[in-house]
Symmetry: D3
Subunit: 287 residues, 6 copies
């Protein structure tokens, strides 16, 4: 069977109905990176970007803490005898753990907050005594944020808007010249005062606190990001090329979840709902 054209990349069709329409009209098989999903809910083609963004968040924050960029003039690691910078990381997933790695590496005093006990225990195992793990609740967030020089928003909930865990009232309590980086901003962000910015104009200030909310952070380190992404996409791409999309999707449930359009039909439920199209299951088409 001839399979026609296959588009294998980030599609975000829900937010791009015209693109969806075109794909359907042309009968393009659309495989979206962002909906490929493992059985345990992990998104393998988003993870490398989360790792990049999490690591980058800290070096961005360190830069904006400098006086010249409006920061309070704190060196994250301090020096012997002088207090270290305090970093609060809201969320202990891939973004949060990678941010924690870098913040710990720079010598900061790091609070990482999450509600998953396995996550907290693993972080505690890996960074023995070099990080404070805290169960994330209103009180612990408020205490951590209000004392922090840097807050990293790292709450990503697959396919849903992140909750506004950090409120404007908490931001008000931070010292002027503190820095916020919201890595979740492209999904609405988990910090009330955040809205997406661009690399051209990356920051704004609310209550004296610098907000860095670039929606596509990994673009700034494109060399690293490209390799990271390729490493993740290659395996699925090879499967598609080797087996054809029908067999590949049949043999790999994660890949199957990535199928958004096929033979002029929308084959992904959420996408179908978003673009107001009929949902048809891939398996019914691919027989």
């Amino acid at each position: 069977m001839r399979e026609g054209q296959i588009l294998y990349t980030y599609l975000h069709l829900a937010a791009a109905p015209k693109l969806a329409e075109e794909l359907l009209k042309r009968g393009v098989t659309g495989v979206a990176y962002e909906t490929i999903e493992l059985d345990d809910g992990r998104l393998p083609l988003l993870q490398p970007m989360s790792a990049v963004a999490g690591r980058m968040a800290i070096q961005v924050a360190a830069a904006y803490l400098e006086k010249e960029r409006g920061g309070k003039g704190i060196l994250l690691g301090g020096v012997p005898g002088v207090r270290r910078g305090r970093v609060a990381i809201i969320g202990g997933g891939i973004v949060g753990q990678n941010a924690a790695r870098m913040a710990i590496g720079l010598g900061a005093l790091v609070n990482i907050l999450d509600i998953n006990p396995d996550t907290l225990a693993y972080v505690d195992d890996i960074y023995q005594g070099r990080v404070n793990t805290l169960y994330s609740d209103l009180l612990s967030i408020e205490e951590s944020v209000s004392r922090a020089d840097v807050v990293i928003g790292a709450v990503l909930i697959a396919g849903a808007r992140a909750p506004k865990l950090v409120t404007e009232a908490m931001i008000k309590k931070m010292e002027p010249g503190s820095v916020i980086v919201d890595v979740a901003v492209d999904q609405g962000g988990c910090i009330e005062t955040c809205h997406p910015t661009t690399h051209d104009d990356p920051t704004f200030t609310v209550h004296g606190v610098i907000h860095y909310c670039v929606a596509n952070m990994p673009g700034a380190v494109a060399h690293t990001s490209t390799f990271a992404l390729n490493n993740a996409t290659l395996a699925y791409g090879v499967k598609i090329a080797d087996q054809g999309i029908v067999a590949a999707a049949a043999n790999d449930r994660a890949l199957a979840r990535g199928l958004n359009t096929y033979q002029g039909k929308v084959t992904h439920k959420a996408v179908a709902a978003a673009v107001n199209a009929e949902f048809v299951s891939f398996s019914s088409l691919a027989k």
Copy 2:
């Protein structure tokens, strides 16, 4: 030359004039562990006891933090998701560094305060990111103490009373059920509210804060302490035995400083002053 009897142990003659008198009368050669001193001012036969006391201080503090012993019921290392205990160590010498090692090992959040930049840099090198090093001044002491669950007094100044760096006002700010261990208590202590206690009745409470001020802490772990002390005293003992005290002292300035009495004379200035005796230099006698 016959050298007569040699007494080689802790003497503390300044505080024991009768013993001094007796040694002089009997012509005993008194070599005091506590006055053997290296050229750089270190006291090699006190150091092992400082290491033991510093390490033990933390396990003592951990025990008294338990509810049953009157403490606030905090586990020093916390558990994942729950805040760790906060430990303030006043002084970064041998006592302080050994206390820090154990507190870090138990997972506590440790502030270590000192004024020696080389000490702070070395501690920072050894425990990268697992300890806060702070320059010790009134402000940093007050902040550290008032937030601490455990305060370790670790300021020892050779041959002098330790200054009262931690005031009663600071103690008042601590939460009830917090614990203080003053390892320097036998030299007056560096904490205003401390006075020496014994292993039989080791603690008292001031402003709700438990004070553990046993003057001879290493006695509680006698097995370890004995070996530690022997390891340190053996080399000097062997020198005395091999070469005789005259040659040994001539060849080893540290040992020479340990000579308190010789041929019925006091050969150590501070001791002579303390027991109101004439000071005669050992070299003038030993020719």
Copy 3:
């Protein structure tokens, strides 16, 4: 549907038939912390207490090694040049790993014994070269125990009595003044000579070896334990409050396993057997 009163706490109905009877009579919905169980058999509301108890076990042991408390006078971490204390931890689960963390942190020489190869490999990864991992068999237990200054009993088998892995004969071979802490004692203990004690009278001595067998160790660090427990119970509590018990249990198998009584019936098999009541499945009642 009105759901009536819900009791969400540790119930231990098997050991408290009168309480069970009362709950049934009043139609109380009893959700027992201790029977909430994940699909992989882990007990999420017991884990935080195990972590606390494991960590606390070592500081308790360190305290009882002091001469004043009858111990052999060994400092667990030794000091440079003097042998470190030897700790044998029987069991590498949550209790064992947390005990190991603290023992390693205090500088002891630690043997941790388990039969699960994944556990041994993970511990080896996390504490590279700072711990001896040993496959647990009669020989390795005997060797480890007979040379140990401290033995930690850390074998917990969900819903079953722990086996007596450490025999009285092994205890006899230990040096007087050694210390045993059996964290599993409230489930019978894995050490033959142990029986439960209380915080008021926590120890007894057998063959010269101090036994600390307090059944409710976390109570001593109530502040830490309370937060640890709340962090774990909160999520299930919120589900019950948000969805009602019926929907919550339907959506979360772990929570469903926690249901012990419902509408005057016992809905947990083991509990039903223990209190000699009829077992009725929750799902049959909750339709």
Copy 4:
């Protein structure tokens, strides 16, 4: 004896002859932070600034590696599966060790080059296996620089211009978008293509390589720098205040070396030569 006005700060009189003239005219006692020198040649009031600058150098470099700032788009620590950034640190003193700490912390692959075997051995001890220590010679510098994403110039020679260890030819071999930070630039710099810049216009590009050469880097983290400096200057300041400058300088050779002007005379040889004034020893004046 009345001691007159004392100016205790950075003076840099050699570069400011007018200031020198004025101090002499007014009889001001000038104690220069930058010439206070320990017996082993270390400069205790420059060290904290070196520590700050060394640590900051890496976060500056990380920021300029971003595409938006003209860099090659490399994340210093890479992510799992993608190569880490390569950092070459020329010089293993305080600047170099602090830069290494941060670069290692961010996960970079670090070469640190020095000719002092004790320095190399200590760095190897502290960062076991996380850094490449290399004896600094033409070959090792060329190899390290040409492969590096980031080069840190960290050669400071007290009271002398740093040698141009990194030549323009080496810079040419670097990939475009690489970053150089010359922390030694205010002493001429150890990199041929460098010249001092300011925080307002911090960088320029040579052969496609971004040069960051701000002469006063610690100014950007003024909060941290101020505390670091105060911690270092306080002790000497207290001595001057307590004992008067004459006694203080008599009792502390390091402080004595800090005396640049006294009673209308230049009391520091190099300064005297630089401002073309007569050198008079402090000791001859202070009798």
Copy 5:
């Protein structure tokens, strides 16, 4: 039911048809270590041998790097100031991770290559900054191998020949006196130039590169290997002894997969195919 004789050991019947025939003839129940397999595909009775072989591979390589054994005279860890040896480990499974542990421990600069993102992330977590994790593709293998002093072949694919990831062309680019250890050689090896050797004549040289390809590496450290194997086999052995093979296999799917022969029939598909016998499912026989 009498169960007859049970042979529980490594069988490798596919390669030993005569042995298979004999077992069938005699009705022996053959349980093969090498086909016991967990649900997730791991082979629990091969893993301990993989761990031993991986760890041993590095000490073997270190030895053959010595001049006397034909190597290039490189010390794997270098010394301070002299470059460390470079090790490329192809494969990040049990063999690869254990080899990495030892190579890192000896101070080498280690590249570990794999395609599994979870593996790379875990290795990155455990050895923070002490190892380069690289996604394994033609380019990264070629670069790593051509620069390496030591290459470890660590690709094992359960039940299949390992692919020839390292080609002869890559080997040609290595410097003479470099060393290759192919731990996968008994499954064909993942290095083109490798063929199995024995402990008696363990190496050969191709393109100046020393090849160590002993098929049974763990035999050299028989003491360690024996204990490692026993620890793994014991649990299954006990199950067989306690429950009988029928019940044991029914209760443990991993064990069931180990059954190769039963009541004169081949009960393992691949073995049946290999020895050209009829396959009969154990469950059909064991009723």
Copy 6:
């Protein structure tokens, strides 16, 4: 002044009187690497070789523990669940610390014995909890050696024969197939049963224990050793070349101690005694 020929290398004239005679006859200026000595007694041109030999000693020992080479078949690091190899390192100087680094890196259980408290404390700081530091005395040596799988002789006393700290009686108590490496063997060795061997025939067996006693161990890793040596000798060589030997020796006491022959005279006391020549001080000749 013309300075004539300068021979700058290892000379060992005491053991080569003919060479000494020739140098004197020809008026060669002989600067011996091995007698260049810092004020604190360290020998900077022997240290790199000690580092190499110490590190290499462990990989040699690991190799000889293999069955094929006669060893007991123990893997130094064990594997998870199986005991690690035990290594006793007699002496904590450069050889001992480097050996310890490698043994710890391979995962062995390491005892390092020394009598210098500063050495023991530093090793304890650097390898927290990954090594046993023991004060070296008859008892601790005997216990460590008799239980060890590997003993490293690492006692080097500058210019003197090493004492026989490990006696034949202790060797007898070791298990057959254990391995001894005596790095001090070229100075007589610190182990009673050792005598020098060569790379061609490196080992012999006494009481079943394999003895590796190659006098010139670093020769086996010539590539690493050469660079290590060059790094150390270069600085002195440059001084000689730049300043001439007279000025160079005048400005650098360590270098001056290296002068063995000058203008036909022996300028080193110990050499003069050994070759039965008149000693003439260099300073008297070089005026």
